[in-house]
């Protein structure tokens, strides 16, 4: 009986519990979006949709994380846009990392991927077909037609080397293109940890030369870990623990080979820095391409072109080398553009957590003023650790906007530094007067997702007149964002082709002035930029409500000027040096 009563009590209890639970259960929690989080496009505000899956892009950066927290594990790899088959539709090249000790890796090693644009918003992976199924610990990419044959070639940096892949006709399949590794034949060598790289004609001979950033010297076999003694946790070592390496400058000899001119150019004389970003552009409007280099925890280099392939570092005293307080930047990615209507390119450099993305406003004559606070970029970017960065006109209003990808380098940053490892990317719209306003919350779901952002490159891959973005993530999937901004603003897409003799065919180094609707917009074609990545070289110029560009003045890399008149809006134009403008067929 006692048992019976007990059993009754238990049953009653269970029943009561069930009732309690049943009665007490609340409706399932609902996700409550922030009041101003935009769930759909808003007219006039940039809006990006994740098109990765729909576009058949399925690239994931190799996760090489180990308990040693080796520095390369968190540096990521880049992404590049290259129209390798010259069909007018940008294809997508994804640089792949890999295991640090490949011989111990089970199974096939991961390779880079090339996705051919199907011209309908989708891509087909053609890596093997084009001969790019190469493995190695890949880092950065630069796209350029180094032999002026009309087809873009690929240059890739690795943890321990560099590689030049020449775009050639596929002998096995007439009409098709493939890539041949010509590194040795081109006499290119750099047995160091190379990162960002960029093409530019530094000596005015009409051929693209090559700058390669080197980061630091590491020895995996004798690697010293860094330990946070308070928490007894291993963490990724700062770059300052390692000796840095001189960067490289290779002159294009015009016969398929290059000469290492690091010493003769004066670059070897510049104190070494842990290079992560490079941009090749005429910064002082003297007609010669200069080189700006972002170094991690060291002064940025501003290598002013003296002519004849010689450079001197003007960084420290130009005002574009350190923060306004004289501190080193943890310089990663670089962007440049005319953000204030001055016609001069200002510089943006992404920086460490709690440090703002540096904005150096170009005052002419190789002088810069700190503009991060006044631009509005500083206060917004301070909360993130920035890597890739691009300036582009997301809403086609004629003003340059800014996208930046973020992610910490310390895997256990949340515990050790109270900062998240995965971070949101950000988008800011420019007002054309040097100021920017953040619109990340209204720009689509991606900007609310957390990733370990690294590479970033812009291209209008679907040729719809709106610039799209590709983001690479450390140990994560690449994301392709399609620009779906609702706008009636009009645009021009300008594809510049140099004569291949006095100006390089890619027209890297050209300055373009677009007169439209009473405004003058100035754009530049530069080499390098962002972090480890290569954006589409075609200029997508927002015209606002104007129906045409009244005049487009091109200052070609060789200094010659050419004006093209009355270019109708909402279409692509091919501007070939010495020829009249040619409308590019829509499809």
């Amino acid at each position: 009986m006692r048992l019976g009563l007990h059993a009754f009590g238990v049953v009653s209890g269970l029943l009561a519990g069930a009732l309690l639970l049943g009665c007490g259960s609340s409706p399932p929690p609902t996700s409550s979006p922030s009041p101003d989080t935009q769930l759909g496009p808003m007219p006039g505000v940039p809006w990006f949709e994740d098109a990765t899956t729909a576009a058949n892009v399925a690239f994931t950066h190799f996760d090489g994380a180990t308990a040693m927290h080796y520095l390369p594990e968190v540096m990521g790899s880049g992404v590049g846009w290259i129209d390798y088959d010259n069909d007018g539709w940008p294809d997508l090249f994804c640089v792949q990392g890999g295991p640090l000790r490949p011989h111990t890796h089970p199974g096939p090693l991961p390779t880079h991927k090339l996705y051919r644009n199907n011209r309908d918003g989708t891509f087909t992976e053609v890596t093997e077909q084009v001969g790019l199924n190469k493995n190695g610990y890949g880092m950065g990419v630069a796209v350029g037609d180094y032999d002026n044959d009309g087809f873009d070639d690929l240059f890739v940096t690795y943890l321990d080397r560099i590689a030049l892949f020449k775009n050639v006709l596929d002998p096995a399949a007439p009409g098709r293109r493939r890539f041949e590794d010509v590194t040795v034949a081109a006499r290119l060598a750099n047995p160091h940890w190379a990162t960002s790289c960029g093409w530019g004609d530094i000596d005015g001979d009409g051929r693209l030369d090559l700058y390669v950033c080197n980061y630091v010297q590491i020895d995996l076999d004798h690697y010293r870990t860094c330990v946070n003694t308070d928490r007894n946790q291993v963490y990724v070592c700062p770059p300052t623990v390692f000796p840095s390496e001189s960067h490289k400058l290779f002159r294009n000899n015009g016969d398929g080979t290059f000469t290492d001119i690091t010493v003769s150019s004066g670059i070897a004389a510049v104190p070494t820095g842990a290079g992560l970003g490079v941009l090749l552009l005429d910064l002082d409007d003297d007609g010669k391409i200069d080189i700006y280099v972002a170094n991690d925890m060291g002064p940025a280099h501003l290598l002013q072109n003296q002519g004849g392939g010689k450079f001197i570092d003007r960084g420290l005293l130009s005002g574009a080398s350190l923060t306004v307080g004289g501190r080193f930047m943890a310089g990663m990615g670089i962007a440049a553009g005319d953000i204030d209507g001055s016609g001069r390119p200002s510089l943006f450099v992404t920086n460490y957590q709690n440090e703002p993305t540096a904005v150096f406003r170009n005052q002419g004559k190789m002088t810069f003023m700190d503009w991060n606070h006044q631009s509005g970029v500083g206060p917004v970017t301070r909360r993130s650790l920035g890597f890739g960065i691009v300036l582009f006109d997301a809403d086609l209003d004629g003003n340059l906007d800014l996208a930046q990808t973020n992610g910490h380098v310390v895997r256990n940053s949340q515990v050790l530094l109270n900062a998240p490892f995965e971070q949101e990317g950000l988008l800011m719209v420019g007002d054309g007067k040097g100021r920017f306003r953040e619109v990340s919350e209204k720009a689509g779901g991606y900007f609310r997702e957390k990733h370990v952002g690294r590479g970033l490159a812009v291209s209008d891959y679907n040729n719809d007149g709106l610039p799209d973005l590709a983001f690479s993530h450390n140990a994560g999937p690449l994301k392709l964002l399609r620009n779906a901004t609702q706008t009636n603003n009009r645009w021009l897409r300008l594809e510049l082709i140099g004569n291949g003799k006095t100006s390089n065919r890619n027209a890297i180094g050209a300055r373009v002035e677009i007169e439209t609707g009473g405004r003058k917009l100035v754009r530049f074609i530069h080499g390098g930029g962002s972090y480890l990545s290569a954006s589409d070289r075609r200029l997508l110029v927002g015209l606002g409500t104007a129906t045409k560009a009244d005049r487009v003045l091109v200052v070609w890399p060789d200094g010659s000027r050419e004006a093209f008149r009355d270019l109708a809006a909402n279409r692509g134009w091919r501007l070939t040096q010495g020829k009249s403008a040619e409308a590019v067929p829509a499809n």
């Binding site: 609340s26 922030s34 623990v241 925890m297 501190r327 080193f328």
Partner: protein
């Protein structure tokens, strides 16, 4: 002699009554339980709300969250619950949710400074600086004597490019602190941004006279007047030990822009030393037993002409490990450059290398 048979009836009766007793107890229990549930059900919403609020206040937000939401579903304008949710989500770092409830709180209690203050402080952390500012302005209306807030808003307004507003706030602040140099600097910046270079110049002149400080020097430099900036930076370097690096850097730029390249280089070397020591200090902290790192810092300092600093770093390494070759080698190279062959040879020998 049979023993009396046991009474059958009482046994059965006892069994029966036991059974009945069990049933009765069972029925009573069920009745009590149902009644309890009924009473509990009727009193539950308030009780649950109270308990949840208490739990949230005591820091058990995870436990209280769903109960609070449920209470809010019953009474959507319950400010106390909304406040608890807002605070809970702020603490648990769920920005979207926090903003939702903060905003609801502000909507329901637009005059409540606490709600406004919390949202004002939340926005910058949630990447919404431009939204913080209007909240700050409203908060200032609600707490007009808050001088610290007014001052903070001046800086925010300047950073947002709201120069007109910044100027007005700045002038209000200056009424209380008429000689404040940072406020005067910001006022000059506002006037300059609004195109009044004359007043901006006058303010700078006043700052120059009264406060030979960093900010006006920067403004002079940025406005293309490096000559005026130079004496200010020199004064900062002389007076302010905390700004040696930044003032040194800016002085070097000002000197360069004034055509004094040689002096610019000398000043550069000075602040580069500070940078090197700072950066290497971080690296050494990360790898305290890495002697090679300390040798590298010593070499860097020697190369940049900071002989005493460089030597002291190298000798400190040798004191720690007298046989550490790279330190001896670095010293040998240094003494060779100084023409002190004997000392160089001594260190080379200790390094185990030949020239």
């Amino acid at each position: 002699m049979s023993s009396p048979s046991p009474p059958l009836v009482p046994a059965v009766a006892s069994r029966f009554s036991r059974k009945r007793l069990g049933i009765v107890i069972g029925v009573i229990a069920v009745v009590l339980f149902v009644a309890g549930v009924f009473v509990w059900q009727n009193s539950r919403p308030d009780e649950k709300r109270t308990l949840a609020l208490k739990a949230a206040k005591e820091g058990s937000f995870a436990f209280a969250e769903e109960q609070l939401k449920s209470a809010l579903a019953d009474k959507p304008d319950d400010v106390e619950v909304i406040e608890a949710l807002a605070r809970g989500y702020l603490k648990s770092e769920k920005p979207h949710e926090a903003e939702t409830y903060l905003t609801r709180w502000v909507e329901l209690r637009p005059e409540d400074p606490e709600a406004r203050r919390l949202r004002y402080e939340f926005y910058p952390k949630a990447r919404k600086l431009s939204k913080a500012y209007p909240d700050g302005r409203r908060l200032l209306d609600l707490t007009p004597t808050d001088g610290r807030l007014r001052r903070a808003l001046v800086g925010q307004a300047v950073s947002l490019g709201a120069y007109e507003d910044a100027e007005s706030l700045c002038r209000e602040c200056l009424r209380d602190e008429p000689g404040d140099r940072d406020l005067l600097s910001m006022l000059a910046e506002c006037r300059r941004a609004r195109g009044d270079l004359t007043e901006a110049g006058e303010i700078l002149d006043r700052l120059l006279k009264d406060f030979p400080l960093y900010t006006p020097a920067i403004l002079y430099l940025d406005s293309g007047q490096p000559e005026k900036a130079i004496p200010l930076f020199r004064e900062v370097l002389r007076l302010d030990k905390t700004r040696q690096r930044s003032a040194g850097y800016q002085l070097a730029i000002a000197l360069e822009r004034s055509g004094k390249a040689e002096e610019a280089k000398q000043v550069t070397a000075g602040f580069r030393r500070l940078q090197d020591v700072e950066v290497f200090a971080d690296a050494i902290k990360a790898q305290p037993d890495n002697l090679e790192l300390r040798v590298r810092l010593g070499e860097r300092l020697l190369a940049e002409g900071h002989t005493q600093d460089g030597l002291s770093y190298l000798h400190a390494v040798i004191a720690e490990n007298p046989a550490y070759g790279p330190a001896h080698l670095a010293l040998a190279k240094h003494y060779e450059q100084q023409g002190q062959a004997e000392r160089a040879a001594e260190h080379r020998k200790l390094a185990g290398s030949t020239p």
